[in-house]
């Protein structure tokens, strides 16, 4: 009988770790000699499983307690958003693309608007770029908090679950203040943002930025050196950098292996080159590194938000080009031209010169690219999101092969897939 290969946790302090104690138990005298290889068991997990973070179905092949193969089966929340977007005017497609990856809606809108702006060749005013960065980074923290909350729940830490949702709610309150909506805000427009930030918003964001690092300290005090978490995450499901690159994996998963690839630094968009921030990287690329990288990213996001508030330029918050942005309300009462522009935009929408554009940005999960093809009409001929969850999920089989099935759940939590983005 062959004993399954398992990765043992390294450096567990205080004598033998629980796992080593478990493995040291000798069971060979119970097993029969003539049993041969252990029988494989195919186990279906999902699509409705609390630990799958959505409607993800995993067909796992187990040998005893060890995962030998896993096949993700997706498509349960496929809603045809890409098809729907082809049927809408360019600016009316923003609300539908926002609903793809439902935790990082600002990023979806940013990738889509960026692609359309590239096709038009539209300049975005500096104030709008800073406001975009401000909201993107708030959204990154909110998305990571959901990852932290649900991921910790998968490891059994239920208090972190409540704390994570509590702090995310503060961010949603900020979104509600600036755009009127808590989720799927439709705040980003082609050419800028919908509205300027209201009075008092800055103070509330600053108060959040002051409090939040303390919260992070508390989370880290709860989790970072927790013996159970360390045993569940350290040394588990490590995959090397080259394999991940082959699978097209980006984002915190790639950075956990030590590759500092981040589009905000590598190919700055929306004036990310104005901000001073660091890119956290891991060392070995195991689950614990994935966890630490995301925690450190939240601290960097707070720094970016503070810088965006400090350096927020004056000026228009949306492009003054009336062909693409709605005229201000007061102009409608006095200017015939403004009325015509308003009418054309609301009925037909704007036309975009024919061409194809691919606009990649760094979402909380990796490279989120939006491909838009225009045929010259007022509706996009094709909208495609290169969703990082969809691509990253391909590496999942490689990560969990030959680990325990309990580690499969922890690895899935650290992978952070969003099924709305995968299925679109």
């Amino acid at each position: 009988m062959s004993t399954p290969e398992v990765r043992k946790p390294e450096g567990a302090r205080g004598g033998l770790s629980y796992r080593e104690m478990e493995e040291s138990v000798e069971l060979s005298h119970i097993a029969h000699e003539d049993e041969g290889e252990q029988e494989l068991l195919t186990l279906n997990m999902g699509p409705h499983h609390p630990a799958t973070h959505g409607v993800l179905r995993l067909l796992t092949t187990l040998e005893g307690e060890v995962v030998r193969d896993v096949k993700p089966i997706i498509g349960y929340v496929h809603t045809g958003i890409e098809k729907t977007a082809e049927d809408k005017a360019y600016w009316k497609a923003i609300p539908v693309v926002e609903r793809m990856d439902y935790l990082s809606y600002y990023f979806n809108a940013m990738a889509y608007c960026g692609a359309v702006e590239t096709l038009i060749g539209l300049e975005v005013p500096p104030r709008a770029q800073y406001l975009r960065v401000l909201h993107l980074e708030l959204n990154r923290i909110a998305s990571h908090l959901i990852w932290l909350a649900t991921g910790a729940l998968d490891l059994g830490a239920i208090s972190v679950f409540w704390y994570g949702w509590r702090d995310r709610d503060r961010i949603l309150d900020l979104f509600e203040m600036s755009s009127g909506q808590r989720m799927h805000t439709r705040y980003f427009q082609v050419g800028g943002v919908m509205e300027d930030i209201p009075v008092g918003f800055e103070q509330r964001v600053r108060a959040f930025c002051k409090d939040f690092p303390k919260r992070l300290d508390q989370f880290e005090a709860l989790i970072d050196k927790n013996q159970i978490v360390l045993q569940r995450l350290r040394g588990v499901a490590a995959v090397d950098e080259q394999t991940l690159l082959g699978f097209g994996v980006t984002g915190p998963l790639l950075r956990a292996t030590g590759n500092p690839w981040d589009l905000r630094k590598a190919a700055p968009y929306s004036s990310y080159d104005h901000f001073d921030f660091k890119i956290p990287v891991g060392t070995v690329g195991d689950n614990y590194d994935r966890y630490r990288v995301r925690m450190a990213e939240m601290r960097e996001s707070v720094k970016i938000i503070e810088q965006a508030l400090d350096g927020l330029p004056e000026g228009p918050y949306i492009t003054p080009d009336r062909k693409y942005a709605l005229p201000p309300r007061h102009e409608l009462a006095t200017s015939m031209e403004a009325l015509i522009h308003h009418f054309k935009l609301v009925t037909e929408g704007f036309r975009v010169p024919p061409g194809e554009a691919y606009y990649p940005i760094e979402s909380p999960r990796g490279e989120l690219g939006c491909f838009v093809r225009s045929d010259g009409s007022s509706k996009p001929a094709r909208v495609h999101m290169r969703d990082p969850s969809f691509v990253n999920l391909q590496a999942f089989g490689e990560m969990v092969r030959d680990t325990y099935i309990a580690d499969l759940i922890a690895t899935l939590a650290m992978l952070d897939p969003i099924l709305g983005g995968i299925d679109r």
Binding site: I74, G75, H78, G80, E82, K83, T84, E86, D87, T118, L119, G121, L245, G246, F247, G248, W261, A266, A267, G355, E356, A357, Y358, P360, E367, G369, F371, R373, A381, R382, H384, R386, F390, V391, L393, Q394, D423, R424
Partner: protein, 169 residues
Amino acid sequence: MPDATGLELIAQELRDRDSEGVLDTTFFREKAAITVTRETVQATLEHLRGKGYGFMASVHGVDYFPEEPRLGVHYELLDMSTVDRITVKVRVPLDDPHVPSVTPEWPTADHQEREIWDMFGVIFDGHPDHRRILMPEDYEGHPQRRDFPVGGEPVHFTHNESRQTRYTR
């Protein structure tokens, strides 16, 4: 980004290898794209990998209806050291939608090629697991095509229940 000149140099290198392989080059909004025949797509991608474009960022399908050939497959390549992107495009007609699969060389193309088969009906020869990925396995048609109607799916409500299949019986 390879500028317009750099793109032509790459295209010339590819033409030296196979004089018929490169069909078109476009440089639009600072973005280089190269259209090749489907026979040379694997060789083109390997050539570009040798030039540093070692990361396949995305594979996506396009329906160029009403233009011919209708179906398109785009490969977004990325050079991570110089932060440089280039698109490789393939166009195939609807009655012969075969493209060689690049999944054996680029594992990231696996799910994305399956999605293009699912949504557009492009057949990837040599794909190890050529199945639908988002739509149900018994689904007929390829819904992302431009001539596929929106709203063609019957939706079951209580008011039209009697006119449709009763699953409860």
